[in-house]
């Protein structure tokens, strides 16, 4: 089937719900309205209000009750309307989702998925465009994934639904309807914790994920570079092996993400490369991210999000060093 990311996710949710009776969907406006981005469209008609729940408007309540359902053996899939609203449920993520298994030495576990749209570029209001992957990755105990295409979106969601772990599932808003891709109609898994090597080359490695993947691919192509382009897909736990192998092979590494630069995922990746492959590098590692400040109002977002020009200059710097 030829689908965009919204349809791929919708299809994945339907298959997951058919497979596992313990799965319920809960969130704000996900029932009749089908979610503000229509990811859950039609599911209430197929599965009823018993399994597709329009919740009160309370993010900590959504995540906290999801944790309770998971503790009781269900596998809830919560939708938080926007990443910026998920901070209201941050305490539940940090204090419980991430550590209930450890707290009880696996007597309890928290099999749940929290889906939320992330990143900007679609001129939405304030708090609708954050890229929060580093926050959730820093905690430990949470799996953090972020697909960059419809195929991965479906496969990662299915895989997440079959794991006995809390998964933060970040969906780049800009990619929801940006392009279509041919994907299988049946269930399939995309591995979690495994990066995808989108193209292989010898001169440099570009590590990226989410909204930046296609822009990076375009820049690399336009510049005619021979590059390993790595789409992380899973931010935490990091696929360090793939990263280090590629860094050693090419000797030049750029890391590109939309999240702001300071203390971002790029810092973690750069540090690991420095620890394990620095003597095989031919040039200093280059990081590209948004400026180290909160996401601006939509009128200014084009001055904020890394664009092809910024990435291109960074790659020039990397190649000329």
């Amino acid at each position: 089937m030829m689908v965009n990311m919204v349809s791929a996710l919708n299809n994945a949710l339907e298959l997951i719900m058919k497979e596992n009776e313990n799965v319920v969907l809960l969130g704000e406006d996900i029932g009749r309205d089908g979610g503000v981005f229509r990811v859950t469209e039609g599911l209430i008609d197929k599965f009823g209000e018993r399994r597709v729940l329009d919740t009160p408007l309370a993010e900590s309540g959504i995540i906290g009750t999801s944790i309770g359902m998971a503790l009781a053996g269900m596998h809830p899939i919560a939708e938080i309307q926007f990443a910026g609203f998920m901070y209201l449920g941050f305490s539940q993520m940090v204090n419980h989702a991430s550590r209930y298994r450890a707290r009880t030495r696996s007597t309890f576990s928290v099999p749940m998925i929290v889906r939320t749209p992330v990143s900007g570029g679609v001129r939405t209001l304030e708090h609708h465009s954050d890229s929060p992957e580093a926050y959730y990755s820093h905690i430990g105990g949470l799996i953090v994934v972020e697909p960059s295409n419809p195929y991965d979106a479906k496969g990662l969601l299915i895989k997440a639904s079959r794991m006995n772990d809390p998964v933060v599932f970040l969906e780049p808003t800009k990619l929801y309807r940006l392009f279509k891709q041919e994907i299988p109609e049946e269930m399939y898994e995309v591995p979690i914790g495994k990066a995808s090597i989108l193209s292989e080359g010898n001169d440099l490695t570009v590590i990226t994920y989410g909204t930046m993947v296609r822009i990076v691919q375009d820049v690399v192509k336009k510049k005619g570079l021979s590059a390993d382009v790595i789409d992380l897909r899973t931010i935490n736990p990091l696929d360090e092996k793939t990263i280090i192998e590629s860094a050693k092979k090419t000797g030049r590494v750029a890391i590109v993400h939309e999240a702001s630069l300071s203390f971002g995922a790029g810092a973690e990746i750069a540090a690991r490369i420095a620890e394990k492959a620095i003597f095989e590098l031919k040039a200093p590692i280059v990081r590209v991210g948004s400026p180290s400040l909160p996401y601006p109002f939509p009128g200014y977002e084009n001055y904020y999000i890394p664009n092809d020009l910024k990435i291109s200059k960074a790659l020039d710097r990397l190649m000329s060093a």
């Binding site: 319920v24 018993r50 919740t55 009160p56 309370a58 900590s60 309540g61 995540i63 906290g64 009750t65 999801s66 944790i67 309770g68 359902m69 998971a70 503790l71 009781a72 053996g73 269900m74 809830p76 305490s91 539940q92 204090n95 419980h96 298994r101 450890a102 707290r103 009880t104 030495r105 696996s106 007597t107 309890f108 576990s109 430990g140 105990g141 799996i143 794991m163 006995n164 772990d165 914790g193 736990p237 990091l238 696929d239 360090e240 092996k241």
Partner: protein, 356 residues
């Protein structure tokens, strides 16, 4: 035009007063003498357990401990009203609930030594472990209650929160979810009048804590939290109704918040003295003695049996050997490479020598 669109009322229930006199009109007809004796003995047990934990902490054999002294009736009355399949969701002071719901005692002592291994609440007892961040367990309770209804298990959830906890957002959010979803969810507000150093009067301008349930469309009652029969009966009725319900148990924290604070800094002795005659244990002792159901020999015998059980549990708990690998092994359902590498490094580098 002016119409009254809402009218609220909170009842206060006491069945056995502080002198041990039962109100015949309110006394539950189906409550047997045996059950009251059982609850009384469990309150004694909880007090003995509490004293032991305090003493271990003072000897440096336990980490920070939150005593339950004075709150035995609230904890034991509610716990013993639950059926075996009903699920308890405690906060951090409900050691009496763990005790009454048959959580192995040595687990509690392992927990008080500071190891997660003590939080391995067996699935068979139907409860969740100690939760420290105030009120964050209440939404879990609602979620667990949702799962019971979703699966038609017939079980109810009984959750606990303190007076301070009723100021938290998670308290309101959970009540609201439970109300909308009409869950089998009973919330015990263990109002012991103090949230560390902040008195009930500074926590809220609301006349009762129970009335907070009304805004969520949930029924509520206030009971004498030092009257084990009143707590028992209110909890039992709420569980049977299979609907969300709030029970504010008015009790008093006779001891510290935890072993890390000194209440003489913030509350006066006169207040504590005034609560002493309302003790939850002495009134039931008076009641049972008057009925010829209890005497000093039985008291001594119960104390001896309980002390033996406690000592055995302490002994077992002190034999527990922590395994530092376990802090890595229970993070995910599998061991990710990056975490496995940190574990290998810690093991091979020998950093753990002398850790205990």
């Amino acid at each position: 035009m002016e119409n009254q669109v809402y009218d609220g009322k909170i009842e206060y229930i006491q069945i056995i007063d502080e002198n041990g006199n039962a109100d015949p009109a309110l006394f539950p007809k189906d409550l047997s003498d045996e059950k009251i004796v059982e609850m009384y003995k469990m309150m004694l047990f909880a007090r003995a357990l509490d004293a032991k934990a305090m003493s271990l902490q003072r000897q440096g054999r336990a980490v920070t401990y939150a005593p339950l002294l004075g709150e035995e009736a609230t904890q034991i009355g509610s716990a013993m009203a639950m059926g075996e399949k009903d699920i308890f969701v405690p906060s951090f002071r409900q050691h009496g609930v763990f005790l009454a719901r048959k959580v192995p005692l040595e687990l509690m002592f392992i927990g008080w030594r500071g190891f997660e291994d003590g939080a391995k609440v067996p699935k068979s007892v139907n409860g969740t472990p100690v939760i420290v961040p105030v009120s964050t367990q209440v939404p879990h309770a609602a979620g667990i209650a949702f799962a019971q209804r979703y699966r038609n298990t017939g079980a109810a959830v009984v959750a606990y929160v303190g007076d301070g906890g009723t100021s938290e957002g998670d308290f309101y959010e959970a009540l609201n979810f439970a109300g909308v979803w009409k869950l089998p969810f009973v919330l015990i507000i263990e109002n012991n009048q103090w949230a560390i150093s902040v008195p009930r009067s500074k926590q809220t301008a609301a006349g009762t804590l129970a009335q907070k349930a009304m805004a969520a469309g949930i029924g509520a009652v206030q009971v004498d939290g030092n009257d084990v029969v009143a707590v028992y009966q209110a909890t039992k009725e709420a569980i049977a109704a299979k609907l969300p319900f709030v029970i504010e148990c008015v009790t008093y924290r006779m001891s510290l918040h935890t072993t890390a604070d000194d209440p003489t800094k913030y509350r006066n002795d006169a207040e504590v003295e005034a609560w002493k005659p309302k003790d939850p244990i002495s009134r039931i002792r008076a009641y049972l003695t008057r009925k010829g159901l209890w005497n000093e020999d039985k008291e001594a015998q119960a104390a001896e049996e309980q002390a033996k059980e406690i000592d055995l549990a302490v002994e077992k708990a002190e034999q527990f050997k922590p395994d530092p690998r376990s802090i890595f092994e229970h993070i995910y359902s599998y061991m990710p490479d990056v975490l496995g590498e940190e574990l290998d490094e810690a093991e091979t580098a020998g950093w753990w020598q002398g850790g205990d």
